[in-house]
């Protein structure tokens, strides 16, 4: 491999890895926060991302809705749907037995697999980028696929908004207070059950958005929530439960490593990632940014 080719490969890996990392982060950050806030083991988090993906693809192909409104619809619909699930089912198990939480959410995954197959069939749903996002954008040095560039820009904007919101906005401050010390937050008068619901809706909405945006990276198929569960869990566990920035670092690590291996050594990718995950957690059982 010549020097130019090596640079070109590195740029490609960096670009596609970044796109993958954005999707992983958008989907997983909600899981990390709700896990840190309520200690709830929500394995069904991927279901919301999957639903987001299905809403985007089917609203676009069947109703002819443009891409951006379709994304907004996916985010809102998953957020609203998640509130229903949270109020009806999850709320009963807060602070309860971990096993019950695992069972409940595994049950939801199984139900989602069947329900999605019933409505959309077993095949993956393709996403057709709108005209202004198909093709390539030329950045002078080289050109990049427009759809993935849009994905990275969107992701970056959302991440910035999320971090600023959690840092500056009153709601964000309350969420951080409740993650740090739930009892103290309650005793200074923060309405924690309301905050739980809000956070849950926000996290699920982001997951729905991530699922829709990343529909060409993580194929929208009925087994989505099962197939990608281990990725979302790795991001959350390596990043550190309850952390906002930890999962971002973890998503970057995972996204770029995974993409790099797919380009260079496709046979060994999965092994390396799982081994790295185990080694990282052996070194820091609470994750890179988790509190000891």
């Amino acid at each position: 491999m010549s020097f130019d080719e090596a640079i070109s490969a590195a740029v490609s890996i960096g670009f596609h890895g970044l796109a993958f990392a954005m999707v992983l982060y958008l989907i997983s950050v909600g899981l990390s926060v709700t896990m840190g806030l309520m200690g709830f083991v929500n394995l069904a988090h991927g279901v919301f991302a999957m639903l987001g993906g299905y809403i985007v693809t089917s609203v676009m192909s069947r109703a002819g809705v443009p891409f951006v409104p379709a994304l907004a619809a996916a985010a809102i619909a998953t957020a609203v749907g998640s509130v229903v699930v949270e109020r009806l089912l999850y709320r009963r198990l807060y602070g309860g037995d971990e096993l019950d939480q695992v069972l409940l959410t595994m049950g939801l995954i199984f139900m989602s697999v069947a329900a999605v197959t019933f409505f959309w069939g077993p095949n993956p749903q393709p996403i057709r980028p709108p005209g202004w996002l198909s093709g390539e954008v030329d950045l002078g040095v080289r050109s990049f696929p427009a759809f993935r560039s849009f994905l990275i820009l969107c992701g970056a904007a959302l991440v910035t908004a999320l971090w600023l919101g959690l840092e500056r906005a009153r709601v964000g401050i309350r969420i951080r207070a409740a993650v740090d010390n739930l009892r103290m937050a309650q005793s200074v008068g923060i309405n924690t059950p309301g905050l739980f619901t809000l956070t849950f809706a926000l996290g699920s909405g982001l997951a729905g958005l991530g699922g829709g945006l990343g529909a060409d990276l993580l194929a929208i198929s009925p087994s989505y929530a099962l197939d990608n569960l281990v990725y979302f869990l790795i991001v959350v566990a390596v990043g550190g439960l309850g952390s906002i920035r930890g999962p971002f670092v973890a998503a970057m690590l995972l996204g770029i490593t995974d993409t790099g291996f797919k380009y260079l050594l496709p046979e060994l990718g999965a092994f390396f990632i799982y081994a790295l995950t185990m080694a990282l957690l052996l070194w820091r059982p609470k994750g890179l940014f988790g509190r000891a």
């Binding site: 083991v41 089912l89 595994m106 049950g107 199984f110 697999v113 999965a270």
Partner: protein, 331 residues
């Protein structure tokens, strides 16, 4: 006088508690029920013996999951790692010219226990979601390994050409499943005796203590981490036995033996019966597998919908499964 009375009742209460502990490990007549049922099924339902053998081996798998989940409180999504290891070990031996079943079974058990020990060293350092993820990663890693090493494991198509010899050179595995059924029944019975002995031993009691209150167990000086590792290894061994049993009796091993779905379904079967009661597996597994067999005309994907709904319903309305319901009715 009053104090004397108090002391006496106190002594009586103490005796009662000691009696209750002493009685725990004695055999209750009801414990014969699964075995009587299994023998009756052998005589009365000869056409269902292949399914029966599968059920018996799966009961052993669920029992092994109950040891870590119900007794030690280690919530795992990767128990198929050990089930699959046992199955592939026995299967690869039988496909490469060593079809002796008993030694194949032992080899599967030992390999699975080794994998359990090695992964337990890493996995058990964490708790909660991280532990769950680590167990899942171990199973996925093995799944990936089995998929890649297709020259040994057959990859996606599954392992072909297993030749299992007759047991002791006398009992051939027949088409009707007679040998398979009895073989599974005897192995399950022996493993059940061992598991029963284990959970009623001081070691088993200390596991329950670890599940209920880890901090207190640390405080009274129990070697928490070592005990969890020991039970994890033993349970992995039992899961390997179950996997090897299914591999030998069906003469097939596929990638599904290491899949996440199987980890999920074994949890459901255990939950339907009741966790941490040693008999949950004996109730939940037959219920699940017979229902699955009866409703086999339903598409497998839609079957998952009802199973998922059942899981949600059990968690919300019937904690403790069937055995939990019976306990509540009796109180």
């Amino acid at each position: 006088m009053a104090t004397e009375g108090l002391v006496r009742t106190g002594l009586k209460a103490g005796d009662g508690a000691i009696d209750a502990f002493a009685r725990r490990h004695r055999f209750h007549p009801l414990e014969a029920l699964p075995w009587v049922t299994a023998l009756a099924a052998y005589i009365l339902l000869p056409s269902y013996l292949p399914l029966g053998a599968q059920i018996l081996a799966t009961v052993l798998f669920a029992l092994s999951a109950d040891l870590v989940l119900g007794y030690a409180g280690i919530v795992t999504l990767g128990h198929t790692a050990f089930f699959g290891t046992g199955a592939y070990t026995a299967g690869i031996l039988a496909a490469n010219g060593w079809g002796e079943p008993i030694s194949g079974l032992l080899a599967g058990t030992v390999m699975a226990a080794l994998v359990g020990f090695a992964s337990g060293l890493v996995v058990l350092r964490t708790t909660g979601l991280t532990l769950l993820m680590q167990t899942l990663v171990v199973a996925t890693l093995l799944h990936e390994a089995a998929n890649r090493a297709s020259s040994i494991t057959g990859g996606d198509d599954g392992l072909q050409g297993m030749q299992v010899w007759p047991i002791f050179g006398l009992f051939r595995f027949d088409l009707f499943g007679h040998t398979a059924y009895v073989y599974c029944l005897i192995v399950l019975f022996l493993c059940w005796l061992a598991a029963r002995r284990l959970v009623h031993s001081p070691f088993g009691r200390s596991l329950t203590g670890i599940r209920e209150n880890v901090r207190r167990m640390h405080a009274i000086g129990a070697p928490v981490r070592r005990r969890r590792l020991v039970i994890y290894t033993i349970s992995a061994g039992f899961a390997g036995t179950a996997g090897a049993l299914i591999a030998q009796t069906t003469q097939f091993v596929g990638l599904g033996f290491l899949g996440l779905e199987r980890s999920g379904t074994v949890l459901i079967m255990l939950i339907i019966g009741g966790v941490g009661r040693l008999y949950g597996a004996f109730i939940g597994v037959p219920l699940y597998m017979i229902a699955q067999d009866r409703f086999s005309e339903i598409e497998p994907v839609y079957w998952y919908f009802w199973i998922g709904l059942l899981m949600v319903a059990v968690v919300v309305f019937a904690r403790g499964g069937v055995l939990g319901l019976i306990e509540r009715l009796r109180v």
